[in-house]
């Protein structure tokens, strides 16, 4: 008997919103999630992603909109009636129960038979690779093991939807990488839909089938990791996806491209969305901005950090714009350096950054 998610076709969020007093934490989120999909809710702290997750779990009531699981409206159900699995940021393991009883809690609440429960617990323990830790109390486990128990407890009830609230944020860097692949493996194994809240773009990119980028309670962009990485729809999304250089400047038309003025030079760039002549924002990843002797942009180096293969540097142009770039050679503070960038790597947005 394997653990497999309960069947459903689609989870639909329709204008889901929630306010706290005067604060609109969630302003109408609409999203469709298919069975088996791994969705990452990505955004800076305070963007409403955790609020969205708590609304889905039923821990917060909606102040507007609705949630549908296929043809059933579920947003008025209590959390215990929804049957979603949730993994909490602090794991929320029951400290007075053994690992085994923690995992079996949801099953015994469903009133399942003892042998059935024992079988499922064993299955869940082996899925999260904790086979021999069943009798311990949560306090006797390491952070990574506690995390595995929390995941086992959430999936053993075979939920159609698993909700995860920044589950890796309390782990050290090595364990985080390890658990990341574990989470994806378990997701694929049980076939539920997973909604995963994180503020770490790398985590979202590597885990998710689709990423939902949020900001100020609004969905800014939904797309596959590749789409979001290559072509963010807005400058603020670009900033969040690692386009660290955001230069407010003036753009002028040149064929299909837009020339943006950076450091006294016109740099050709690729327009995105409604970008046109006039005020614009150019977004460039530091690793696309490379040191090159005949590059058109000249900067004075302000700092350089060695990151293993490259030097990760910051420099300032003649007109005072700070740029982050990469260099394969060692550079020192005060050096004058020329930079080059491929036009397809300069994304030009209409100026709508708040």
């Amino acid at each position: 008997m394997a653990i497999a998610a309960r069947d459903f076709r689609e989870l639909k969020l329709d204008g889901m919103s929630r306010s706290f007093g005067n604060l609109n934490a969630l302003k109408g989120v609409t999203l469709n999630v298919r069975r088996g999909e791994f969705i990452a809710l990505l955004g800076p702290s305070g963007c409403g992603k955790s609020t969205a997750l708590n609304c889905l779990a039923g821990l917060l009531t909606l102040s507007g909109g609705s949630i549908w699981l296929d043809a059933t409206r579920i947003d008025r159900l209590k959390p215990e009636e929804r049957g979603f699995g949730m993994v909490f940021q602090n794991y929320a393991l029951f400290p007075h129960m053994s690992v085994r009883r923690n995992i079996g809690f949801g099953l015994s609440m469903q009133g399942r038979a003892k042998p059935d429960i024992e079988k499922k617990i064993k299955e869940a323990l082996s899925i999260v690779r904790l086979g021999d830790q069943g009798e311990k109390l949560p306090g006797q486990l390491s952070g990574g093991q506690q995390q595995r128990v929390a995941i086992a407890r959430a999936i053993v009830i075979e939920p159609p939807l698993v909700l995860m609230d920044e589950p890796l944020s309390n782990l050290d860097a090595k364990l985080r990488l390890e658990m990341r692949s574990e989470i994806r493996r378990i997701h694929d194994l049980i076939g539920s839909a997973t909604i995963y809240v994180t503020h770490d773009q790398e985590e979202a990119l590597s885990l998710a089938d689709r990423i939902v980028v949020m900001r100020d309670g609004v969905v800014r962009q939904v797309g596959t990791p590749e789409e979001l990485y290559a072509r963010p729809a807005h400058a603020d999304v670009a900033e969040f996806m690692g386009y660290r250089n955001l230069v407010r400047s003036h753009a002028s038309k040149s064929g299909n491209m837009l020339n943006v003025r950076i450091g006294g030079t016109d740099m050709p760039g690729t327009p995105v969305g409604t970008a046109s002549e006039g005020n614009a924002v150019a977004a460039i990843r530091p690793d696309d901005l490379k040191a090159s002797p005949d590059g058109p942009l000249s900067v004075t180096v302000e700092s350089a950090q060695y990151h293993g293969r490259d030097f990760y540097c910051s420099g300032r142009t003649g007109d005072g714009i700070e740029l982050y770039f990469c260099s394969e050679r060692r550079v020192a503070k005060g050096d004058s350096i020329n930079l080059t960038v491929d036009p397809s790597c300069v994304l030009v947005y209409a100026e709508d950054v708040p």
């Binding site: 779990a57 039923g58 049957g83 602090n90 929320a92 393991l93 400290p95 809690f105 609440m109």
Partner: protein
């Protein structure tokens, strides 16, 4: 050759100062001294003095006081009378505090309610007794209102009921505050986790909150019991000090200040202390069966 410190010990062994520091004994430890002296002078010494005094009766051999106490129903019945007040009052206070604390925990204006509930502590037992005497007495508002409705007067003071009411009113704020602090110490995400796992409110309370609260409730029971067992002013003012509410502290008082038999009074006080100790040990030994540890779900 280097100068040797005063506390330096044998060759090879670390100096005394270091050895003490390893056991967390250093200069700061001396700060505990005033408190130790205070406890010794005001608790340990009087206790030992009373203990010895209780074995030096006015007449008879060294156990005469105790023999007298346990052979005279007028004296030994006070234990039962006191327990008959203290045990129900303790249970009422502690059990009532749990649902109230559970509710208050979620309230926005917790401080207002907490303040209201704590006022009886600041008033003191005598003021509460005065108030109850006036309000619930034969000519009080309560009985007059009943009379308006054509209902006969009920006797609520100068008996068991009066003392019980006073014990609940003055004891509840204590148990409530203590329970509230234990309840708020339980990580709310534990209950949320339980609810996502399908546990309804009743199951969440039974399987999550209650086991994590049990330790605190045991302590609460002990403190509340000790407090109510030594009831004196309300038993005299609101009760029937010669009858149903003749508690053990009244027996001690009468021995000391009506018969001027300090030795007998000490013996009564010792018996009182041992009854309290017995109950506390009983509660705490039950506690050993319970989970003791953090009430949080995460690391640290």
């Amino acid at each position: 050759m280097t100068r040797r410190g005063k506390g330096e010990g044998r060759e090879g062994a670390p100096p005394l100062r270091v050895r003490l520091a390893l056991r967390d004994l250093d200069g700061v430890t001396l700060l505990a001294l005033p408190a130790v002296l205070f406890v010794a002078a005001l608790f340990v010494y009087p206790f030992l003095y009373g203990f010895v005094l209780s074995f030096e009766p006015k007449t008879g051999d060294w156990l005469a006081n105790y023999r007298k106490f346990f052979s005279d129903p007028f004296l030994y019945d006070t234990i039962g009378a006191t327990l008959w007040l203290a045990v129900p009052a303790t249970l009422i206070n502690v059990l009532l505090s749990v649902p109230v604390a559970m509710r208050v925990r979620r309230m926005q204006r917790r401080r207002i309610l907490t303040t209201i509930l704590v006022v009886p502590i600041t008033l003191g037992t005598v003021l509460i007794a005065e108030g109850l005497l006036n309000y619930l007495g034969p000519q009080g508002w309560f009985n007059r209102s009943l009379a308006l409705l054509g209902l006969g007067p009920v006797r609520l003071v100068h008996n068991y009921t009066g003392v019980m009411l006073s014990l609940v009113m003055s004891g509840f704020p204590f148990t409530f505050l203590l329970t509230l602090s234990y309840v708020t110490g339980i990580d709310p995400s534990l209950e949320q986790a339980a609810s996502t796992l399908g546990a309804k409110a009743r199951a969440r309370f039974r399987h999550i909150v209650l086991p994590l609260l049990a330790q605190g409730l045991a302590i609460n029971l002990c403190l509340s019991f000790v407090q109510t067992f030594s009831v004196f002013p309300s038993a005299v003012l609101l009760g029937a000090p010669a009858g149903a509410t003749r508690v053990i502290s009244i027996a001690a008082y009468q021995a000391a200040y009506e018969q001027y038999d300090y030795s007998m009074a000490s013996a009564v006080a010792m018996i009182m202390g041992f009854v309290q100790l017995a109950v506390v040990i009983l509660i705490l030994s039950g506690r050993a069966l319970l989970y003791r540890g953090a009430a949080g779900g995460g690391k640290g």
